[in-house]
């Protein structure tokens, strides 16, 4: 599902190029649940952005869901992203739309037949336990609910791969545990998961394969 070979990413921020990632190589098989761990600034977000082709690597090769991301043309990026669900630390919900509309928005944007939109959106909301809050606006949600809505939006298009960037970063422990439980449930239905977190304890608690990044380098691959 994911394959990286000697990947490096440098940011040109003036006279000196700052390395965000250096010589990173690993692969994730289809159906795996992998935790990407490391302190803030270790390069986790940069790595995820490379995977959904928001950034291009400065060096190395990347393949995701059968797409070669180094040679991938701009016009084909949407095809890659349709097979990826993304969850961020801030839920990134659209403020002017209800929870249901936020989830249905994805399907409408992708040209899903009208008759399928409502049942699929409700199915996704049900999967994250948020059906009762479908008509609420983001401002009326708790942080945990907002993150669950964000998860529903990520899974509504049934992606093969779920990338979660610090999905529990803004949540207390109980809420974080709830979200992790939901992500595990999504994984058990066959979605490959790559979850980035700076919380070492959380990574340990998940008891899954863990890739540890430190200062842009992959220093550990265990579990």
């Amino acid at each position: 599902m994911i394959w990286l070979h000697h990947v490096a990413k440098l940011y040109d921020t003036g006279p000196v190029a700052l390395p965000a990632l250096t010589d990173v190589s690993f692969s994730v098989d289809k159906g795996e649940f992998v935790v990407l761990s490391g302190p803030s600034g270790a390069g986790k977000t940069t790595l995820l952005r490379l995977l959904y082709r928001d950034e291009r690597p400065s060096e190395g090769e990347i393949e995701v869901a059968g797409f070669d991301l180094v040679t991938l043309r701009r016009s084909r990026i949407p095809l890659l992203r349709r097979s990826i669900g993304i969850v961020f630390q801030d839920a990134k919900l659209l403020a002017g739309r209800t929870v249901f509309e936020n989830v249905a928005f994805v399907l409408r944007v992708l040209g899903t037949p009208r008759g399928e939109i409502t049942p699929r959106a409700f199915q996704a909301l049900k999967a994250v336990g948020l059906s009762a809050r479908a008509q609420a606006y983001p401002a009326q949600l708790s942080q945990g609910e907002a993150q669950r809505a964000s998860l529903a939006r990520a899974i509504v298009k049934a992606p093969a791969l779920l990338l979660a960037d610090e999905p529990t970063g803004n949540l207390d422990e109980d809420m974080a545990a709830e979200i992790l439980e939901l992500i595990k449930e999504i994984w058990t239905r066959g979605t490959t998961v790559l979850l980035a977190t700076h919380r070492g304890a959380l990574a340990a608690q998940l008891k899954r394969r863990t890739l540890t990044l430190r200062a842009g380098r992959l220093v550990k691959d265990e579990g």
């Binding site: 949407p78 992203r81 403020a95 040209g111």
Partner: protein, 294 residues
């Protein structure tokens, strides 16, 4: 998908708010100005065509020919070239014609000791000759005929009317272009504001795999809708003004230009105006897109 795109465009229109309204207003003004000049130009063109068709050169004869010599004279006149039709008018016909023109006062003619009017030939120039230069040459050729005393007629004033028409057309285009430019800039500004308001949405759209076409099309559509709205209002305004003013102006038009009525834009011309409005709006949308995506 189409309903989604249209829905997003309508949502964008609402977001554009007052700037969007200004854009619609400017498009209305530019197309109304363009349309008004176009209307004047169309009617002048009708007058020019009508007068070109009515253009006559009259050659007054020294003596009235004998009836058996008329056919030969007509052939001779026809032979000078550049002529579509020749009509012989005898002294008697000329007098009858004068009587008809005088109407109630026609009895004045009966007081005349003798018919003072000369016989003449009325010459209709062909299409190629119905120009100031062509009629001038025709007049010269007719004057050279031994039987002809004097020649009257020319296309100068018709051409001067044609020049006025061209001037109206150009002025209309210039005024319309300046206003259209302002309209495009306003639509661009309105769309740029929409783009700022839509930033989050567009980010989500890109992240979930929407194509650039789906992301950009609502912007284009909302620009087009603004343009179309402006064009519809302009067209409505022009039609209302025409309905109000035409009956009042028609006597003057008949007197000065010989037009029985003031024509309005034809269906294809109205469609062109509407298309122009939609095009202006779309261009504004595209330009804003270009600026924002650069």
């Amino acid at each position: 998908m189409f309903s989604f795109l249209v829905g997003e465009a309508v949502r964008d229109l609402r977001r554009a708010g007052r700037v969007g309204l200004s854009a619609v207003l400017l498009i209305t003004l530019s197309l109304a100005a363009l349309g008004a000049f176009w209307l004047v130009s169309i009617n002048l063109e009708r007058a020019v065509t009508q007068w070109r068709e009515r253009l006559r050169v009259v050659a007054y004869l020294r003596d009235e020919p004998r009836p058996e010599a008329v056919a030969e004279l007509v052939r001779k006149v026809q032979a000078v070239g550049g002529i579509q039709r020749v009509r012989y008018v005898s002294k008697g016909e000329a007098l009858e014609s004068l009587k008809r023109a005088l109407g109630a006062q026609s009895s004045v003619v009966d007081q005349l000791p003798r018919n003072p009017l000369p016989a003449s030939v009325e010459v209709t120039p062909d299409e190629a000759t119905a120009t100031p230069e062509g009629t001038r040459e025709l007049v010269q050729r007719l004057t050279a005929l031994r039987e002809v005393e004097e020649v009257q007629g020319g296309a100068e004033w018709v051409e001067s009317l044609a020049q006025w028409r061209r001037l109206f057309q150009l002025t209309g285009l210039a005024v319309g272009a300046v206003l259209a430019l302002a309209a495009i800039l306003t639509v661009t500004t309105a769309t740029t504001l929409v783009l700022h308001a839509r930033r989050d949405e567009m980010e989500i759209m890109r992240l979930v795999g929407a194509t650039e076409r789906v992301i950009r099309l609502p912007l284009l559509l909302q620009g087009m809708v603004q343009g179309l709205l402006g064009a519809l209002i302009a067209l409505g305004g022009l039609e209302a003004a025409h309905a109000l003013l035409a009956p009042r102006l028609e006597p003057l038009l008949t007197l000065t230009l010989g037009l029985s009525r003031a024509a309005f834009l034809s269906a294809p011309e109205m469609l062109l105006l509407l298309g122009g409005g939609a095009g202006l709006g779309a261009l504004g949308g595209v330009l804003a897109k270009g600026r924002s995506f650069a």
